[in-house]
């Protein structure tokens, strides 16, 4: 057992911290730091470009696609440092975590050549066209249809809760290509240009960020067959694999832990008297952040050893949701009314904590997966 960082990891973290202190000075907060806002996405084009120049945007990718052979641990360090600062990669964290790797794993040489270099350069925004009005947690019931017509699929339907739909260049789109097949079969992945004729994007104002969501309406949108990722009707396994990268790729605990530390520091600096209940809330929240961190590390360790994905990822995600909520509660106990100052770190944490159990797959589904895969309980 080894419970320590290597020299290499430590020096990487330190170099990264110096870089971030330089690049993200002072008031990196407000609309720019709200993941999901247009300001944040635009900021990401500049920031991700700088990361790419340093070789830190896609360090874990193969050298062929601009990677530097970084270990999963270095990637974890990168994720922690960036998430604790509100994720200045903006929506591009998805590109590097799972959209790029998914294209790498299932794409044709032409698709890889076309889509991967812009991701590695940090100047392209992707969105994911997954949920539909009637297909949320039950994603496999999606109905958006793609019908073959010559060299194109003709796509009709709608997608909802698509983050960044109004600013994305491309969409990783799930469609039904075989209406007769059993629901998990008959789904395909299309890589759709967001300027395709017939596609209308409507913003849905949300409480976690300006225009956090969009709705996509697709009417006879033509997507070339050459843009299908992986075999026809096998999109479900393509996307499941892709999302297994996503579970701990976004270390939300790191942001929560950072907000907690800063809130405590602020209270101490002001010489604020802290009542025992707030002290306990802070202790409980800090512990929950540590628990989430360790459970995420267990997943990273598996990846570092090239082990197949396991239920550890679901366990880690449950722990992250708990940590996010407990930090929000601790900030409220500690700060009182100050937590309500719109746009402050703790206010954002409070709002994010309300969404934590829904975004990126519900808490309840994660518990189902933990009970089935981890505890081996029966399904019904």
């Amino acid at each position: 057992m080894e419970f320590d960082w290597t020299e290499e990891d430590l020096s990487y973290r330190s170099e990264l911290q110096d870089f971030l202190a330089e690049e993200l000075p002072g008031r990196w907060e407000g609309a720019t730091a709200v993941l999901g806002s247009a300001d944040n996405a635009e900021y990401s084009r500049r920031f991700a470009g700088l990361l790419a120049e340093k070789g830190w945007l896609t360090p874990h990718w193969p050298a062929e696609w601009g990677g530097t052979g970084a270990t999963p641990w270095m990637l974890a360090v990168l994720g922690e440092e960036l998430w604790s600062r509100g994720e200045p990669r903006g929506p591009q964290y998805m590109n590097v975590n799972w959209i790029g790797p998914s294209i790498m794993a299932h794409g044709t040489p032409e698709q890889c050549q076309r889509y991967l270099p812009p991701i590695a350069a940090g100047d392209v925004i992707w969105c994911q066209g997954f949920s539909e009005p009637e297909a949320g947690t039950d994603l496999a019931s999606l109905r958006t249809r793609a019908v073959l017509d010559g060299d194109d699929y003709v796509v009709n339907g709608s997608k909802i809760w698509t983050s960044y739909g109004d600013i994305a260049d491309h969409c990783y789109l799930l469609v039904r290509t075989d209406a007769q097949a059993e629901r998990h079969r008959g789904i395909s992945v299309l890589l759709m240009a967001m300027d395709s004729p017939g596609l209308v994007v409507r913003p849905i104002p949300g409480m976690v960020g300006e225009h956090s969501f969009t709705e996509l309406f697709l009417t006879d949108v033509r997507v070339p067959v050459a843009n299908r990722l992986g075999p026809e009707n096998e999109g479900w396994s393509v996307v499941r694999e892709a999302l297994s990268f996503e579970r701990v790729g976004a270390p939300r605990w790191a942001r929560a832990a950072h907000v907690l530390d800063e809130t405590v520091r602020g209270a101490m600096e002001q010489g604020q008297s802290i009542d025992p209940v707030a002290v306990e809330a802070v202790g409980v929240a800090k512990t929950a952040c540590e628990a989430a961190r360790m459970l995420c590390y267990r997943v990273i360790d598996e990846r570092a050893r090239d082990l197949p994905p396991s239920p550890h990822a679901n366990v880690a995600r449950v722990a992250m949701v708990q940590a996010e909520r407990l930090v929000a509660d601790a900030c409220a106990a500690l700060q009182g009314n100050e937590i309500m100052r719109y746009g402050s770190d703790s206010d954002l944490q409070m709002r994010k904590s309300l969404a934590a159990g829904v975004a990126a797959g519900t808490y309840e589904v994660q518990l189902n997966l933990v009970s089935r895969r981890h505890l081996r309980l029966p399904k019904n």
Partner: protein, 310 residues
């Protein structure tokens, strides 16, 4: 002892009037409008006599306030409601008159961050035991809050001591508790309805115990909070010496159950709960805001410990 947990007919009548006003002034999904305090609504509350409840001129007592606040909470209605009722127990009739008639807003809290400070005409500084009529030195610096309320940072100059604030705090906490209980009750009800309507995996999501059990659990704690708020109001009206502690208990119970109900409503509604236009977001944010008023929760806990001789 006898226990009557229902409102008297005139209190129920008041509740119905407040409900009707909120239905007319809200947007259907509650007060999701960007206007922090729609004029028609606040004037309507004044005309119903709600803003003067608990004062000598306005009549009514804590139970009337609780009955109105449950309805206001159910609609997620805005405004310096807790501050108004707290001020009503502290200010002279002449000072209170413009607040009761809706022409002035009361900012009641602990400086420097004061509720509704940029809009307020009357400032009351309050701590865990005393209060002062005050005025801001210079214009308050505007601070927008998560729940869309125009707060402000202000240095306050004390004009006049208002004396022991124990009774006012008890009334304010009871009002907050009733609002939070009403808000939570409504969230549990609309989430339950949504769970019956929303079909995933070919069945209403309400048939999943992962959805139904947490809602059931919330409904238990919300029911307790509602009764505790009514009980505290009744104790205040009866002059019961336990009233301040009862109000503190009701308030802490309501904060806990409303916070839990908000989380569960979000879990049940999923993404639609996070939309500005949806039925949950504005209420869950207001629950957070109300949970911090009129005094810190730590002061409420201290009051309970004191009542236990600790």
């Amino acid at each position: 002892m006898s226990l009557d947990l229902s409102y008297r007919s005139e209190q129920s009548e008041l509740a119905r009037s407040v409900d009707g006003l909120c239905r007319r002034c809200g947007t259907g999904a509650g007060f999701t409008d960007s206007d922090p305090l729609p004029e028609q609504y606040w004037r309507g509350l004044a005309e119903l006599g709600v803003l003067g409840l608990g004062t000598a001129a306005g009549g009514g007592g804590a139970l009337e306030i609780a009955a109105a606040m449950e309805q206001l909470g159910a609609h997620g209605a805005p405004g310096p409601l807790v501050g108004t009722f707290t001020a009503g127990a502290l200010l002279d009739p002449s000072e209170m008159e413009p607040i009761s008639d809706g022409s002035r807003l009361a900012s009641v809290g602990q400086p420097p961050l004061m509720p509704w400070a940029t809009e307020a005409g009357v400032f009351v500084e309050i701590d865990s035991s005393e209060a002062w009529l005050s005025r801001p030195v210079g214009a308050p610096e505007p601070v927008d809050t998560t729940a869309g309320e125009p707060w402000g940072r202000a240095e306050l100059e004390r004009l006049r001591p208002l004396g022991d604030a124990t009774a006012a705090i008890a009334l304010g906490q009871t009002a907050a508790a009733a609002y939070l209980a009403g808000a939570a009750q409504n969230l549990v009800e609309i989430a339950s309805q949504y769970a019956k309507d929303r079909v995933q995996f070919n069945r209403p999501i309400a048939t999943f115990q992962a959805i139904s059990h947490p809602l059931a659990s919330c409904s238990v704690s919300v029911a307790a909070s509602r009764i505790m708020a009514r009980g505290a109001a009744s104790a205040i009206d009866d002059g019961d010496p336990d009233a301040p502690a009862a109000a503190a208990r009701a308030r802490l119970s309501a904060v806990a159950s409303a916070t839990a109900a908000a989380y569960q409503a979000h879990q049940t509604f999923g993404a639609i709960g996070f939309t500005i236009e949806g039925p949950v977001a504005h209420v869950s944010l207001r629950i957070r805001q109300l949970s911090l008023q009129p005094i810190p929760q730590a002061s409420a806990r201290a009051r309970i410990l004191e009542s236990l001789g600790i």
